[in-house]
Symmetry: C2
Subunit: 380 residues, 2 copies
């Protein structure tokens, strides 16, 4: 953070960006059809495969994460096909909305806010009907719920071997170790401004061999998102459309930064933040919304008499720390604390301590002794 | 240019970026749902309207220009409708390809490379059949040809008043004065990395009242590009999806920079570059590909014995100036010199002089006297 008045980002994305990536992002412009850029693009693609531990190609789009969601629909869908969608919040609903728009018949597994999918629910559906595709979030960002993607893929394939398993990993990918092929995932998408620690504006898509075959013959209309076009460009070490040059530079820098620290260390740090945050909430007597919370964030239920929106804004204004509130019907009812991004332990503990201290003074329900005890618990 | 070894960009985009915009682009990340960002977003939107001289909204997408092209198709098309497309190069062909993919019946006005549309050709088509939409480039970037968009709109409306006139202004908008409403344009799109002098990654769309009405009821599937969704977000001073935060900062800075200098001055500079470039070509005995060349760029025909690709690469390697070559079947046959971006007259003349000098020594067909004469003609 070079600007000391700028708020610290402790949200589920965008997140704090490593200095090296920010520098690369702000570097002078060069043309995307030059050998200099090609070198960076090829290097970034190689690092990307290494970071998510795959030999298969990782596709990049110049778009936000929702663009990659649309790409994951239009590249694999034949209108009229049957899809199953896990809806556990705003982003699950987005899959369902998109699929309907593009002509899929959609069955939902509709979950309460904070719930994660149970494998029994999935199995029941898979036994009842033939599906062409199953759509799910790895982590539902609006509630912080983690879905068991590691077990879902094998279960889907056991019942319906040609059914595609399509996962939105926008706030999930790179927050914990994951073997895409072992998990029998067919399509995984991600966004730059999350665990990749980059500015918004780039999204990613990985596909299995099965998905790639289906992509070749899918009948949904597509142009900007057409992976077949992008595949041809990759073979020439280019992007199909103009490249987001500086984002590619930043991607290269951020991935180098992550790999140099080590993936184990990267995941361990996110785990440490999540645990420390949840310990604090326990001490405060606050409840986590998600029953099986994701590594990337914790959504905290506000007691009925507390307006989370007012508290969050107060913390932002007075203490210059940006957490996030709830979206749509969860507005005011939850506060979301992120565990991703380039933050030191000291910065992270400062953020948690600030939250606890502001929360306690906002409610007025804690004695001085309790306050001291809770705060010293966080620092130690 | 802070890096002295970085090539000077004299291409039809990406282009040289003003220092203030580059600085804003590389500034520290903040969250896109904060009052700080909202302030910048609202300001950028206001400046954008002022810059392209409109009271109507200008929509932004996080995408390259081709994304805005797709948005201009899917928001206004009912599959099965009849479209007319002016194809005078690679980007006209892109309109045709997209439209076919999304289910339009497409008639083409197919022009030779370098040709611009004649109003008679258009009139003949409009008399022969009812069209739902006419698609055209303002400037066909692959050949440098300018189409008479100022006269096309009135002609289209005279014959078919409900027919939409949809213009790709990616390399055209903001290179000359243009009154969108007077030109009876219904949809105009643009891209950040062209005359807006920004990095790649953002695109723009403007629509008329008629287009907005059609957008509400069009039946093409759309989600990421859905302007109705974006309209609702604008009413809340937000973007529908995550905002490309730093690009919005840079947009605000670049537009302020342009407006402070003055739009007249901005256009005059582009005109001066185009004229100076074309004078030089005349002195060299070289032919411009476009019969009616656009303000943004000049495509130069290479004599048969000269490989433009080799010459262009040589200039890039030896002299660190990036012009562009030809695309697809024009590869090697043309070199394209851009007239947009943040360049001083000194830098621009240096680029032209370098081109002339390298070209002359490459061909070996000019006497010392001729060389001196031509070079001194450029400098004066």
């Amino acid at each position: 953070m070079s600007d000391s008045n700028r708020p610290l980002l402790v949200a589920p994305g965008p997140v704090e960006i490593p200095e090296v990536a920010l520098k690369a992002f702000g570097s002078d412009i060069i043309h995307h059809r030059t050998p200099e850029f090609t070198k960076s693009l090829v290097s970034a693609r190689k690092l990307l495969k290494k970071t998510i531990n795959t030999d298969r190609e990782v596709y990049m789009f110049c778009s936000t994460g929702s663009g990659a969601m649309e790409a994951a629909v239009v590249n694999f869908l034949n209108p009229g096909e049957q899809s199953l969608v896990v809806v556990s919040g705003k982003f699950g609903q987005r899959w369902a909305d998109m699929l309907k728009i593009y002509g899929a018949n959609v069955d939902l597994i509709l979950l309460e806010n904070g719930d994660s999918l149970s494998l029994d629910q999935l199995q029941d559906k898979l036994k009842s009907k033939q599906y062409h595709s199953v759509f799910c979030q790895m982590c539902e960002t609006s509630t912080g719920a983690y879905h068991p993607v590691e077990q879902m893929g094998p279960l889907i394939k056991e019942h319906q071997k040609d059914c595609l398993f399509i996962v939105d990993g926008i706030t999930g990918l790179l927050t914990k170790e994951l073997d895409l092929e072992a998990c029998k995932i067919d399509v995984m998408i991600a966004g730059s401004q999350k665990a990749f620690m980059l500015p918004s504006g780039m999204s990613f898509l990985w596909m299995s061999e099965l998905a790639e075959k289906k992509c070749e013959i899918a009948t949904c209309p597509r142009y900007y998102w057409d992976l077949r076009k992008e595949k041809k460009a990759i073979q020439k070490d280019q992007t199909a459309f103009s490249s987001a040059v500086n984002l590619v530079f930043a991607l290269e820098a951020a991935l180098k930064y992550i790999l140099e620290k080590g993936l184990d260390q990267h995941f361990a740090e996110i785990r440490w933040r999540a645990n420390t945050c949840r310990e604090m909430l326990k001490a405060l007597g606050l409840q986590v919304l998600a029953k099986n919370p994701a590594p990337a964030l914790t959504a905290i239920c506000m007691p009925e008499n507390i307006d989370g929106k007012v508290l969050r804004q107060k913390i932002e204004d007075d203490c210059r720390i940006v957490f996030m509130g709830g979206q749509d019907e969860l507005s005011g009812k939850i506060i979301r604390i992120g565990h991703i991004g380039d933050l030191s332990r000291e910065e992270y503990l400062h953020a948690l301590k600030t939250f606890a201290s502001e929360y306690m003074s906002f409610t007025g329900a804690y004695t001085d002794d309790q306050q001291q005890q809770i705060l010293s618990g966080i620092i130690s």
